[in-house]
Structure formats: structure tokens, C-alpha cells
Assembly symmetry: C2
Homo-oligomer: 356 residues x 2
Amino acid sequence: MTLPADHPLLDGRTTHSAVVRAFSADRPDTPPVWFMRQAGRSLPEYRAAREGVGMLESCLLPELASEITLQPVRRHRVDAGIFFSDIVVPLRLAGVDVDIAPGVGPVLGAPVRTAADVDRLAASGPLTAETLAPITRAVGLTVAQLGSTPLLGFAGAPFTLAAYLVEGRPSRDHLAARTLMHADPGAWRALTEWAADLTGSFLRAQVLAGASAVQLFDSWAGSLSRTDYVTHCAPSSARALSHVADLGVKVVHFGTGTEHLLTALRDVGADVVGVDYRTPLDEANRLLGGRTPLQGNIDPALLAAPWPVLEAHVRDVVRRGADAPGHVVNLGHGVPPTTDPDVLTRVVELVHTLGS
Amino acid sequence: MTLPADHPLLDGRTTHSAVVRAFSADRPDTPPVWFMRQAGRSLPEYRAAREGVGMLESCLLPELASEITLQPVRRHRVDAGIFFSDIVVPLRLAGVDVDIAPGVGPVLGAPVRTAADVDRLAASGPLTAETLAPITRAVGLTVAQLGSTPLLGFAGAPFTLAAYLVEGRPSRDHLAARTLMHADPGAWRALTEWAADLTGSFLRAQVLAGASAVQLFDSWAGSLSRTDYVTHCAPSSARALSHVADLGVKVVHFGTGTEHLLTALRDVGADVVGVDYRTPLDEANRLLGGRTPLQGNIDPALLAAPWPVLEAHVRDVVRRGADAPGHVVNLGHGVPPTTDPDVLTRVVELVHTLGS
């Protein structure tokens, strides 16, 4: 390991935390739990903190990003913090003209459609210690507050990043990106390799600054056939993860609608596979050969159902996860903005009463 | 069969057409081909015909709907027409306040969220011969022009219809609909049974007026776990299809992202399963036990790739479909509006040179 000596995994703060243990195929007494997008619009304190501050700006203000990361840990007593950021933050750090339009999502100044566009983009230099400083500082501030609760680093996978770059905005089918990978495989490879190094160094900075594990989000990977994923996307995801391979932190890999890709998501170098709400965890464990810790997969739609319905579902999720080598309870997708935060707190309390 | 004597399946016009044969698990000399959303924005003659006419209005003007249905058959020489309509047309016919907002999709005047909302909705009477008259007339006009080319009837499945009704507009995860099915299963059942009878009678009218087969679109079914689909959606889809069961026409059932649901989509009463671009047809055939004709599944993203790339892909699709009991070539999703129509014509020509 080349982590600094005061890293929480080295000085012992998070080494034996329930999340790190479960990611390491161990079984703590009760299952650990956190929620994707726990730092976000479901919390009134988040909406207050964000008031008047743009999404990308808030990711780049270290005190604010740290405060937002800590809010759900304080409120819900979840077992991990997830670094508050956005998939396109490293693009902004690299100087790409990108913003997050409220109600729309990431919008690029100029979509990347041709080999020449890719060349222009790839001229954006690598992320340096200086450009990464707001990230490093935010992570440092957060870890100092979290104590024995691990912070998880956050980054988007190259395909999802490239899908935004090629489409220029969120899209349903990512048609333009999927066309480019077949129409000009060379340009596609150059684009995704550039994105891999960008997102990989973004992830590495978070780990060096104190994150105890990381999660790679390939939000749109489910739009791909397995062959397209393995041929045109897995190599760049493996490349992104190679940036943290020497650091010895556990890697979670997640995408929605990826039942047909579960083993491929693992085989790019992930230790843990995040499972969306569509695939029962016992089935996911079977598909993965029973040797991979899982994360997931409470259906976010049930957060708005009456408590007895949600409780039965949470118990079922924990039961179905019991045969996997490790299980970190989470949602099967992000927290919907309309979620009652008290329900999330109650889910945490319930999970902490259950045997792992 | 209770079809009228002059129906194209009874008077022999379409009985031995390549599409009807392939749907019946037969192998014509060359594979038949048509394209989902072939009648639509990719065609300049469509854009001209629609100028100044709203989407739902155009579906309810018989001469216009018929002309639009015929356009791609004339231009591309595809082996079937698909009735030009929209999933929400039967809602409009039933008097529900729904419109299609350009660039957005179906928007409801008042979303259906509670049991009381469902009761109010269910008071909308069944579709009558009078309310269905524009559909009957459009189908009749079309079939009179199509000769030996079969017309396929079109309808949305109850879940997808209910997802629009509950959300009030298109959504990514259909959260509100998925919450309702768990939070109030009784209201959900009432809603989907009402939608089943609505869409079933819409489909039946098309068959009686001359459609030689039908396709049920469950566009959003892929957002469901298999258990949720089987428990909360399959019964109403079976009920919808029961409306045409006595007519003896073949039924195709299609949804995107449904690899985990293929057998369930068949088992509601479909003869043919439409496969999206994510699942290779040989794999789909294996999942379906080798006894179900398939439709699909050219990746729409490849329609914009250079011809040699697309040609190799089309040949691969036909090859992978060769082991299924029947195969109708189609896309694995609808024609993107930006598609060059000449490319579609060229795909038809290519498919017609290939052995089935």
C-alpha cells in the first residue's frame, strides 16, 4: 500500500468498520447500510445548504461539499459517507465546458462527435494536484469529522462519462455514443481511455486524501449488450480502476439494469458488485458464482409505501443477501428526491437490528 | 375464428404472407422484415403529412392515420405495416384528459395516484363502436390498400399505460407507479384491469377491421423485477390479450430491457416475443426454450454507422435468429427520428437477399 500513514485504513480508524469488513467478504454482526444519493435533495438541510449555489459549484467548494457529505451520516447514522460529487466534476476540473442544468442534468457546451472532437478534448491536460485541490481538501475535511465511519470515494465510469460527452446531455438510449463505438472504434477508444485516466485520477485523489473504499458508477451501462460492454467499455473501466489498484482499497461497481452484465462489472477489477432493485440478491449471488460481496438492493419505489410493506421488503433483501460472502445494504438505485428522510433513518435502525 | 369473411386472413390475402408465416413458427424463403416506429419522423413524407396536426389528432383522423401507416410500406417495401397510433390513444377515446406534448410525450391533465382517482377513471365507460369508429375506419382504409401485406395492430400493455396514468408524464423509473402497486395493490389491480379492457378492446377493433396480427408494447416493463412483473402486471396483460384470443391472430409482445422477463412476456398469451437489441437472438431463443418465434433485433444505434458495419450486424442478427422456430427481422427498439430513410430501405433489400 502506498497510502499515507495517517490514512483511516492505516491508522486503524476504519479498518474494522462494518462496511470495510463486508466489502472484504466478511460478515459483521449486523449488516452495514448506506444509501446511494443519501447526500442530496431528500434532506431539508441539503436544500438549505445548496440554496443559491449551482450543483457543480457546490461540488467544488470544499467546506460545502464536506458538509453535504456529512449531513446524512449525522442524521441517519448510516455506516458510510459517500463523497458528494457528480460524474462530470472531473470534466469541469479538466476545463471541459460542462454545467448541470437544473431539471435536465449535465449539458456540454459542445458535444464530442468525431475523432477531431476527441483529439481536441484529449488535449485537456491530466488532472494535477492543483486542479484536484478542492477535492483533496473536501475529502480531508470530511474524513477528519467521520472518525470510524468510512468515506467512500465516488466516480463515474468511462462509458457513462463518454455517453454524456457524445450526447451533449442526458439521453434515454445513448444512441450517439453507441453509434460512435461502432462507427469509429478508434475515436471511441481514445475518448474512453482519456475519460478513464480522468476519472481514475479523480478517484485516486479521493483515496489518497482519506477515502476508505470507492464506488465506480456506470449509470448507463445497462443500455449496452454484454458484447458491446465487454468489447467497447470494460477495457476503459479496468483502466480507470488501475489508477487505484496499488492503494489496496475495495472497489464497488454499480449500474442499473445490469443483470446481464454482473460478472462483467466485477471482472474489470471490482471487489464488490452493486445490484439494482430488479435482480434479487440471491439470484445475483448465483450469477456471480457465490464469491463476490454484494451491495444493494432495496427498491426505491418502496420508500414511499406504508411502513409494513417497506419493512417486509427490507427484511427480504437482507435475507436474500445472506448467502453472499459479504453484504452492504443499500438501495437498488439512488434516493428519490421526494423521499421522507425519516423513512431512511427508520430503515437504518431496522437493518441494525437484523443479523448479518 | 369470429373474423368477418372479408378479413385478409380469411379471404387469403395475408394468410400466407411471410410475416404471418414466421409468426406461426414457419420459415419463409427469406426472412420478413419491418421496423418498429417505421411510420414516423424519419420520413420526410411523414413530417409533411403531420405538419400543423397534433400527434393525437393525427391518430384520430382516419385518412391521415392510414396514409402515415402506408408510407413506410410503399417506400421501404417492408413486409408488414404497423397501425399508426400511440399507446395513449385509447385513453383519449375513453375521454381521459391526455395529450402528447411535443418533445415531452404523453401528459395527463390529472395524474392517477389514489384509489379514489382510480374509481373516477374507471367510470369512463368502455370503448364503443362509436368511439372506436376512427380506428376502425383507418384500419379499413389501410387494409384496402395493403393487399397481401399484413397490417399489424398496435396497443400498449396495461403496465405501461398505468405508468403514464400514475406518473402523469413520461418518467425514467416509473417510481410512482411502482410505489402504487405495492402501497395499494387493490387500487393497482383495479387500474390495470381497467387499462387491460381499454387496450384490449382497442386491439380487438383493429383486428376485426382487418389487422392480421397484433403487437402489444410494454415499453416500460423492463423497469420491473421479474417478481413484480409476474405478480402485478402479467395478469392484466393476459387480460388485455384475452380480448383478441378468440380471433386467432398471432400476438407479438415487446418491451425494452426485458431479458429477465422474456418467458414471462410470452406466458401472458403471446405467440412471438420481440427482443430488444441488448440480447442476441440465439441467447433469447435459448432463454425461451427454442419454441417461440422471435422478432428483432437490429441495434438502432448501428443505423447511423457506416454501411459495412451495419451490413455485418444485420447478417449477424439473421444468423443468430436462424435457430428460432420463426424470425421476423426488426429493430431492437424504434427507428430513431434522425435515421436516414435510405438506410432502412437498404436494410430491407439486404434482408430479402438472405436465406431464412
